[in-house]
């Protein structure tokens, strides 16, 4: 059984795509702009890729702070390529006022989008804040350059034609603070949106896992149909309270001794068959398997309310098990057929679900539990496979279900 790999994520497609884009970009710069700019990009991309590969390590990926640090360093490496002076960056050759018109910001936004795969909200948010801060810092760098021209130096009224104005505001040293502010705002909103999307995915995962924990815990007791009903109305509807329930205790008589002579796999296989028959018989009648006790089990009927017969259902389940068991048993693995003994009783008990998620547990406290166990033990010396307690027999009559057949005896066990 390999449970771990079934829950693992495969290698992130975003990693391979980032690598493809990074190396294609490097090749593009080499081909279009020559060796010197190409080497600068190669250094930055190599650093970027080394950091990216380190994120594939499960131990590193499991530490949020390291994730944030590595993605932050990647952003700084790419930003330095655009904003740092030579020899590392291109800022000396191209004014920052022009540099902000390159796809620099768009590349950072693409990097940010790739951090959402798989969703890591705090990484996306922190990286996004860094991207916004770097973009915001370009204003300081641009305005520090004495050659920079700003909007205040452009008087629109002086330009008689649209083309004349456009000529003035497309010069390399023209820095439009209004546009810069506008873009800063948009970048910040993109950051918030992507982080929010990642948070929603995380929250959905957490909520779904909690719901699955509830489902798994309930599935240990109830049929899938009843689980759906309980989950639809909330587990609170089965909160502990006094209820009248029928209890069925069933056991394979003498199986423990037989198990000493069987192979472990034969023991396990025999139990699997018995438990499958038991689950089907009980859950088909809206009963709940309270617990499996080795080669026996205890089931409760009447827990989910309604007007369904409780003892009638328990008796029908017991009959089905007694009849189906000899037919289903694998005779090649087990010599002889261990008898099934079943005790059924009825009465008031405290029953209900306690806990949440993984700790959701069906508990029952009350005398019918012990009486059914003793009735089952008494079948060893009884002429029938099924023994009914006095209270159960009375309830059966009340439910309008006559015993009719002679496969059941009544034994009034004292508390």
């Amino acid at each position: 059984m390999n449970l771990g790999r079934q829950g693992a994520l495969s290698a992130h497609p975003a990693f391979w795509m980032r690598a493809a884009v990074a190396w294609s970009g490097t090749a593009y710069v080499f081909l279009r702009f020559g060796t010197a700019p190409g080497i600068r990009v190669l250094i930055a991309i190599s650093l970027f890729e080394m950091l990216d590969v380190s994120l594939l390590n499960r131990r590193i990926a499991a530490i949020p702070f390291l994730n944030i640090l590595i993605v932050g360093l990647q952003i700084v490496a790419i930003s330095a390529l655009f904003l740092a002076p030579a020899p590392f960056g291109f800022a000396t050759a191209i004014p920052v006022a022009t540099m902000v018109q390159t796809p620099f910001a768009l590349i950072l936004l693409c990097m940010l989008a790739s951090t959402n795969s798989p969703p890591r909200p705090w990484v996306t948010l922190t990286a996004g804040v860094l991207v916004t801060a770097i973009w915001a810092a370009t204003r300081l760098v641009a305005l520090a350059d004495p050659h920079t021209i700003t909007k205040e130096q452009i008087v629109v009224a002086h330009y008689k034609t649209p083309m004349a104005l456009l000529e003035a505001i497309t010069r390399p040293y023209y820095f439009n603070v209004g546009i810069w502010r506008f873009n800063t705002g948009f970048i910040a909103v993109v950051v918030v949106t992507l982080s929010f999307a990642a948070f929603r995915t995380q929250r959905l995962a957490r909520w779904s896992a909690e719901r699955q924990a509830d489902r798994d815990a309930l599935s240990a007791y109830f049929s899938p149909q009843i689980v759906d009903v309980i989950l639809g109305g909330g587990v609170d509807r089965l909160a502990p309270q006094a209820r009248n329930v029928a209890v069925l205790n069933c056991d394979l008589v003498g199986f423990t001794g037989l198990a000493e002579t069987l192979s472990p796999e034969a023991v396990a296989q025999t139990l699997r068959i018995f438990r499958t028959i038991a689950e089907n018989a009980v859950q088909a009648r809206r009963g709940a398997i309270l617990t499996h006790q080795g080669d026996g089990f205890t089931a409760i009927f009447g827990l989910t309310g309604g007007n369904d017969p409780t003892v009638g259902a328990a008796l029908a389940a017991a009959r089905e098990i007694v009849q189906a068991w000899p037919l289903a048993l694998d005779r090649s693995m087990v010599p002889g057929v261990p008898d099934v003994g079943a005790g059924i009783d009825f009465g008031g008990a405290n029953v209900g679900l306690v806990g949440r998620g993984r700790t959701l547990t069906l508990l029952m406290l009350g005398s019918p539990l012990e009486r059914a166990r003793r009735l089952q033990a008494a079948t060893r010396n009884a002429p029938t496979h099924i023994l009914l307690g006095g209270a159960a027999a009375a309830q059966l009559a009340h439910e309008g279900t006559p015993l009719e057949r002679d496969d059941v005896a009544v034994n009034d066990i004292e508390d």
């Binding site: 795509m17 969703p119 390399p172 999307a197 959905l204 779904s208 438990r275 006790q293 080795g294 547990t361």
Partner: protein, 450 residues
């Protein structure tokens, strides 16, 4: 009687369990998509409203004293208002729709249609605006607005929507650039390299020159951005499914196995739950005596179980499912453990001390022997069982301990396996050979002196 130790999660291959999980997940994704659609449409509406208000309050007064050609054409005003009305309409319709995501598609197409009109002046603008090339929007990175719109459509967590948003955004942006290039005959395309000198830059950076690399990189960035987001949504869905499956694997295991054993079972392939015969120590812990309140008080019962769970797990034991009756714990049932009996004994002493601190009187019965241990579940439940005469015997020892009001009663077999020192044996009282139901010879029992 025999008993089990641990009821595990439904088998992963069980189609019924998987169908239930898939249905739950599909419902969860549908609900998140619906909420995401409403958030996306709402957020988009807020941005549009902000744009219109900003335009009315700031842009119109600013431009009123400018040359006529600089003022915004009335067509753009109409578009902005239509934009806003559509935002409200889409939100209201999506709120009532059974398939709200379709309205997100409609809204997305309309967004890019109107944005392209605003950016590139296709049809509604006065002719004077077509006299100037719109390459200024390329220079000013107006494409960031397109990035924002695409990112908003991530919120419904619907991969196809993002893929379409990215495709439409890239197509509209590329189409707008091509349109303005074709509609402005003097426009020139610069497709080459320059030497980065200020003079060379100035020669290229003209309003009628379209820098090819810049335009292509913007379109490519938009495509990449949408692609990364679509992958992110896809991976996000896989992340949710993986988390739920991991929960399925872990949930019930956690209730019965110590945490480190759960991790080993879930994370490695080395730990097998297949049935095998092992030397196992069994400990039965009874319900507290003389505490009538506990049989009615589930909260007290839960706290009792919590104490048992903490101690058993601390001693690497495996727990049976709690159901309201005495609790069974087994030691050495999962792997061969020469210290299993010792651990069971120490666990019993630890429990006795803990319950004594809580002023609760309990009895415990311990025995050791060979049992068949392993996974043996039904069709819907995986159950880790411990089957053997030792289990029956330890339950009978518990009955004996309760009858005699002894805190810890243990068999001679466990005593030998636990390899207690002489100093430790001083605290034991010999109860002699005691008749046990199902045992012809009886069992020699010992009790731990309080």
């Amino acid at each position: 009687m025999t008993t089990t130790a641990g009821q595990l999660a439904p088998p992963l291959h069980d189609s019924m369990a998987h169908d239930s999980m898939s249905i739950d997940l599909e419902r969860a994704f549908d609900r998140e998509t619906r909420i995401g659609v409403l958030i996306a449409l709402g957020a988009r509406g807020v941005f549009v409203a902000y744009g219109v208000i900003d335009f009315v309050l700031n842009q119109i007064p600013l431009r009123s004293h400018m040359p006529a050609w600089y003022q915004y054409p009335i067509g753009i005003m109409i578009f902005a208002l239509a934009f806003n009305l559509f935002s409200i309409a889409f939100f209201v319709i999506a709120l009532r729709s059974k398939t709200p995501v379709y309205w997100c598609f409609a809204s997305m197409f309309l967004d890019f249609l109107i944005l392209s009109e605003l950016k590139f002046f296709w049809f509604w603008s006065p002719a004077v605006m077509l006299l100037v090339p719109r390459f200024i929007v390329v220079r000013n990175l107006d494409v960031i607005v397109f990035f924002l719109i695409v990112s908003i459509y991530t919120l419904p967590m619907y991969r196809t929507l993002i893929a379409w948003a990215g495709t439409v955004a890239a197509a509209v942006w590329a189409g707008g650039i091509c349109y303005t290039f074709l509609m402005f005959p003097p426009a020139k395309l610069f497709w080459g390299t320059f030497d980065n000198s200020p003079q060379a830059l100035a020669a290229v950076m003209k309003p009628d020159i379209l820098i090819g690399d810049l335009a292509v990189l913007q379109v490519l960035s938009l495509v990449l951005f949408a692609l990364f987001l679509a992958i992110g949504v896809q991976e996000g869905r896989r992340f949710v499914v993986a988390r739920v499956r991991a929960e399925t694997d872990r949930a019930v295991l956690t209730r019965f196995f110590p945490p480190e054993v759960v991790s080993r079972i879930v994370d490695t392939t080395n730990t097998s739950l297949a049935a095998s015969r092992r030397s196992t120590a069994i400990l039965f812990v009874g319900i507290p005596r003389g505490e009538s309140v506990i049989v009615d008080d589930f909260a007290r019962l839960e706290s009792y179980y919590t104490i048992v769970e903490q101690s058993v797990f601390a001693h690497s034991g495996i727990l049976d499912r709690f159901d309201g009756s005495p609790v069974m714990a087994s030691f050495g049932a999962l792997e061969e453990d020469t210290r299993a009996a010792r651990r069971a004994y120490e666990c019993a002493l630890d429990l006795a001390r803990r319950f004594s601190d809580e002023n609760l009187s309990i009895s415990m019965g311990l025995h050791a022997g060979v049992c068949v241990c392993g996974e043996a579940g039904g069709a819907r439940n995986r159950i880790f069982s411990v089957i053997g005469d030792s289990v029956n015997a330890s339950r009978r020892i518990l009955d004996e301990a309760e009858a005699r009001e002894i805190s810890v009663a243990l068999s001679d077999a466990l005593l030998q396996s636990a390899d207690l020192s002489a100093a430790e044996r001083i605290h034991l009282d010999d109860l002699g050979v005691v008749a046990i139901r199902g045992r012809d010879m009886g069992l020699r029992l010992w009790s731990v002196r309080r």
